[in-house]
Symmetry: C2
Subunit: 134 residues, 2 copies
């Protein structure tokens, strides 16, 4: 059982410009910026009311985000849904035969526990399960 | 100034299956189903905590959603952000030279007032401005 939205991930090629544009369109707040070396990305996070938007730029052409942009262009990339226990949700989804990228939860940005479903499980939508404060 | 997320729109080809799968993955609640004749789509809405997910199936090959699916496949389609006054936000964005699809707000599903930014304004992300209870 998932609890709602954690954040929306958007693939961008120019992190400065995207951050500036999203802040201008939404009137939201800049929250933080972080290089996630393991994923070969740099992220910029903005908050609009309770909505958290994660702008993601590849730092290397081998980054999964670089491959996504090469195949589909910049744009909406993933939907991150909040779980009390990420591993328990991955186990539940695995038992229900939803295709997973991560059967075992791993550490994500900001000390979260995360795991991805395979986009084929949900008609092309990449869903991330996120556990905070674990 | 936008207030946060209204809903996320997802393009699907099989509305029954997508509704079943999203409910199974999230443990969310089915909210309602509606044919929006003007847009040539049928939508199914599910709620996961405070997150509202709108699954959208084209009812005609001339539907914008049918064209989206033909070009990019099923998957994340748009981000709908909440406004107190949709027309005022469209005016503000127009004055800031963000490219719009709708300069004039129009009536959407469930008696909302809506307008879309052009995806080129935000690096390929289609953003809908939604005013409820107006």
């Amino acid at each position: 059982m998932l609890q709602g939205l954690d954040h929306i991930g958007i693939a961008v090629d120019d992190l400065e410009q995207a951050t500036k544009d999203w802040l201008a369109v939404t009137g939201g707040q800049f929250v933080h910026r972080e290089v996630v070396a393991e994923q070969k990305v740099e992220i910029s996070v903005i908050q609009v009311g309770s909505l958290r938007i994660e702008l993601i730029r590849p730092t290397d052409s081998a980054s999964p985000i670089a491959k996504f942009i090469a195949a589909r262009g910049t744009g909406l990339h993933h939907l991150a849904l909040l779980a009390q226990n990420a591993q328990a949700e991955l186990n539940r989804l695995n038992a229900s035969e939803f295709m997973l990228i991560d059967e075992i939860a791993r550490t994500g940005a900001e000390q979260t526990q995360i795991g991805f479903l395979h986009p084929r499980a949900l008609g092309g939508v990449l869903v991330e399960i996120v556990q905070r404060g674990g």
